[in-house]
């Protein structure tokens, strides 16, 4: 049974759907091979990325499937207990009756963006500040209460259940948003291009537009000539027409990031604030911006801070400066 599911995950080539894209079976193997007397499973349902709500959609429509994925983990990993780390806003979506009798505890959180990062989530469950931990050790070796911990996203657990039943053939969820499109959550094949997805879902604008891909705040901006790129990271696409004010979008990102970071690192806390200040003046000083970007990338402790330059730099270069 134990090797069975790992083998299935491996064959299905399932990659974590929280955004990092790490092969799921490797996480499972790492937790399994540890000899610890107690292990934990966390279903990450914090979904804190700006404008992203695909996990919400899955919880609303397929909560039983997610639970069955968690159950497989509980059965596979000896002496394990599970937590659902749930965005407080989604509290009403989950039918708590389904988990009755199972060793699954729901922890509701309202920690914001950084609180969704897996080690921040672990800190929060332990009653600590939701701040990222240093790796190594990886949480699969030393996670919740210092025990080996398997952290998978809602969507990942959903597909684990599907894979176990033999009902998976390379799908994933996409969320498409935009002021001028209908948008929504779609379950489609993995590894599709931006253009294919938008056309297939009738979200391809007639007027000139560009997109943000991979995340609502830290996703990269791509322009028409890049529309044949595959959608990676979180299955998120924001469709933005050239008629929209790109500064407003940048303000929205910066405000979201300032509100969603943990404020530990100087560059992320103060640098992002100064970026917002500059955007508000509508006068970009590229030299200062690059200085902030470099410092963010080089001296942020976690991936959030390091990734902050991505959306700003790509929007400014590709759209505002039109390089």
């Amino acid at each position: 049974m134990k090797t069975d599911i790992i083998q299935k995950l491996k064959e299905a080539n399932l990659k974590g759907r929280g955004g990092a894209g790490f092969p799921t079976y490797l996480k499972w193997e790492s937790v399994l091979k540890n000899n610890s007397s107690k292990k934990y499973i966390i279903c990450n349902a914090a979904e804190g990325e700006l404008d992203l709500a695909k996990d919400k959609y899955i919880l609303e429509n397929y909560f039983d499937e997610v639970i069955s994925g968690i159950k497989i983990a509980l059965e596979t990993i000896d002496n394990s207990s599970a937590y659902i780390y749930l965005n407080k806003k989604y509290s009403s979506l989950v039918d708590k009756k389904i988990i009755e009798g199972l060793d699954i505890t729901i922890i509701e959180e309202d920690t914001g963006y950084i609180g969704g990062e897996e080690s921040s989530a672990i800190n929060f469950i332990e009653g600590k500040n939701p701040e990222p931990r240093k790796r190594p050790p990886f949480v699969s070796e030393k996670g919740l209460f210092d025990m080996p911990t398997l952290v998978n996203n809602v969507e990942t657990f959903y597909y684990i259940s599907k894979i176990n039943k033999g009902e998976y053939s390379n799908e994933r969820f996409y969320m498409i948003v935009g002021e001028k499109i209908k948008g929504g959550v779609y379950e489609l094949k993995d590894e599709m291009s931006i253009r294919e997805i938008l056309k297939l879902t009738n979200n391809y604008l007639e007027i000139p537009f560009y997109v943000q891909v991979g995340g609502g705040a830290v996703g990269e901006i791509m322009i028409e000539k890049e529309f044949d790129n595959l959608v990676s990271g979180e299955g998120f696409i924001r469709v933005i027409s050239y008629e929209e004010d790109p500064y407003l979008l940048m303000e929205k990102w910066a405000e979201f990031l300032i509100n969603g970071n943990c404020d530990k690192c100087t560059a992320c806390r103060e640098g992002t604030y100064r970026i917002l200040e500059m955007i508000k003046t509508r006068k970009l000083d590229l030299k200062v911006l690059e200085e902030m970007f470099l410092t963010l990338e080089k001296t942020s402790f976690c991936a959030l801070g390091k990734s902050i330059p991505t959306p700003f730099r790509s929007l400014i270069n590709k759209v505002i400066l039109n390089d």
Partner: protein
């Protein structure tokens, strides 16, 4: 041990020491602000970043540990660039209020900014309108200076207090005093000595003292045991340097009429406390007996553990006892109206500022100055204790035993009391005078002292979380427990100069034990001044009670 290379220098390193510590031990300078050797690495300020060959990006050296063969660079152009930006960004939040900062001219932020030629006012201070909190006129927390390093949070947590906490407001995490009913500040002042940006400080009474001097009051200074081996730091002397006569000369130059030694008060406290301990042991009541000369510890008991109030020794703390004696015995002897006498205690401590406000002690001491505040008064008056000609202590209340001096280190009170208890119970000269089992920086020390038939089980604790552990798990394993709130006792007090570290505190304590070792009189009871006071003044129970004893009561939240 492993082999690494830092900036081309081959180093044999200990894997358990961070790259930052390893570099510093090998004379390679790496700047840092949020790192404090007493706390866990914070990895936030972004100044200590280094490059590791073969790895992408930069790494915070305070939280990264060496591995075999690592090749580390600490000064690439990119590193220097991002360090500058991070420091300017820290200045962009921090309101520069340098004039009265506890860091004086040792501010690492400002010194780095000068060295790097930074523009510290590149941006308008984000926190300029952040509030200033006043904790009972004892501690000021100016949150406009905070750089979000969270050392205060960890320090307060490590005291088991958790009065300082992080709140999220307007998208930012800010440090605030807790509004929870069951949490209150005990004024230990460790936030003051562990904050790199000077956001915390004691409430400084120096202007009022200057006023008293100007108004021709009879101003008497008394200085605590732990001051004599720390004040030199403020003037660039080596850690642990003993400075007594030059400090006295400095205080006299400020206009003080007399300068006395709190250690004399400590000798009296030792005698009374040993009496009380022997009495409790004989009657087998209110045991274990706790020391009560640390006001932060007293406040901790009164607020967090009021059921233990009867276990506190009722003997007042040394500077309160001596303050009383100054205003009675001394004033009478010198024919001065006690109303004209103003007593200033120079203390390594912030919580002493709280102690003198207590109703039952009011009037004993008028002002408490910290080591740092005294040094600032010196600076203001062009007094450099390096060059000033020394002066002797004023005789009447000037000479203390070695036992009175070691009060300034964790274990000092227990050792002094043990010397006196032995002296009293055995009624002869002691063969053993050093009780080294009580010395050192360990947070919990234990010993069983056998004096003839009597066995006393003694614990010495520093740090309030450690005290809580003893109280909750081992209360009845001991007869006598010394508790000091600060690491290594008063040498690590909240009113001591910054910076502080284990090493610095060790040197300050070593200085005190040196003085004790060289002292001819090392038992409180043998101090001729104290003997005289008992002969002339503390002659009966009532007057002893009045001068030397106090009461405690349950405390409600004050902040």
């Amino acid at each position: 041990m492993i082999n690494i290379t830092i900036d081309g220098k081959k180093i044999i390193a200990d894997e358990k020491k961070s790259i930052l510590e390893t570099a510093r031990e090998n004379d390679i300078k790496i700047p840092s602000l949020c790192f404090h050797s007493d706390n866990s690495p914070k990895e936030g300020c972004g100044l200590c970043v280094v490059e590791i060959e073969g790895r992408k990006g930069l790494f915070t050296s305070c939280g990264t540990y060496p591995e075999e063969g690592m090749v580390i660079k600490t000064k690439t152009p990119e590193i220097l660039k991002v360090r500058k930006t991070n420091l300017e960004l820290m200045f962009s939040q921090h309101a520069e209020k340098c004039n009265d900062c506890v860091w004086s001219n040792r501010c690492r932020m400002l010194n780095l900014a000068k060295a790097w030629g930074l523009h510290i006012n590149r941006w308008e201070d984000r926190k300029k309108n952040y509030p200033q909190y006043d904790f009972n006129k004892v501690i000021t927390f100016d949150s406009s200076k905070c750089i979000n390093c969270s050392n205060c949070i960890e320090t307060c947590h490590k005291q088991g207090i958790d009065f300082l906490e992080v709140k999220k407001e307007g998208g930012f995490h800010i440090v605030v005093p807790s509004s929870e009913k069951n949490k209150d500040c005990v004024y230990c002042g460790q936030c003051v000595t562990h904050c790199p940006s000077g956001s915390f400080s004691g409430v400084d009474p120096s202007l009022k003292i200057e006023e008293a001097i100007k108004n021709n009051k009879y101003v008497v200074f008394q200085f605590a045991p732990a001051i004599r081996t720390s004040i030199g730091e403020e003037f660039g002397l080596e850690y642990g340097s003993v400075v007594i006569e030059k400090m006295i000369a400095g205080i006299k130059k400020l206009g003080a009429k007399k300068v006395f030694d709190v250690s004399v008060g400590a000798d009296i406290v030792t005698i009374e406390e040993a009496n009380e301990l022997i009495e409790r042991l004989t009657k087998k009541e209110k045991l274990p007996m706790f020391t009560s000369c640390c006001p932060a510890w007293v406040k901790f008991v009164e607020f967090y553990k009021p059921e233990l109030i009867p276990n506190l020794t009722e003997v007042r703390s040394p500077h309160i006892v001596l303050g009383q004696i100054i205003k009675t015995y001394f004033a009478e002897k010198e024919h001065i109206d006690p109303k004209d006498v103003v007593v200033v205690s120079v203390m390594p401590c912030i919580s002493k500022k709280y102690e003198i406000q207590r109703n039952e002690l009011k009037g004993s001491v008028d002002y408490v100055l910290t080591t740092h505040e005294l040094s600032r008064m010196f600076l203001k008056n062009d007094i450099d204790i390096k060059s000033i000609e020394g002066e002797k202590k004023d005789e009447l209340l000037g000479f203390a035993s070695g036992a009175g001096v070691i009060f300034g280190s964790s274990g000092g009170v227990a050792e002094s009391a043990t010397r006196t208890a032995c002296f009293k119970l055995l009624n002869k000269k002691l063969d053993k005078i050093d009780f080294k089992e009580f010395r050192g920086e360990e947070e919990i020390k234990e010993a069983v002292i056998e004096i003839g038939e009597i066995k006393i089980r003694i614990a010495v604790v520093n740090g309030l979380l450690n005290a809580r552990k003893i109280i909750e798990n081992h209360l009845h394993d001991f007869d006598y427990i010394e508790v000091m709130s600060c690491p290594h006792g008063c040498v690590g007090g909240g009113g001591q100069p910054v910076p502080t570290s284990k090493e610095i505190r060790r040197k300050r304590a070593a200085g005190l034990y040196e003085i004790d070792k060289d002292e001819k009189i090392r038992i409180a009871d043998e101090n001729p001044i104290v003997q005289n006071i008992y002969k002339e003044f503390l002659t009966d129970k009532n007057i002893i009670q009045k001068i030397c004893y106090t009461k405690f009561s349950k405390k409600e939240k004050e902040n």
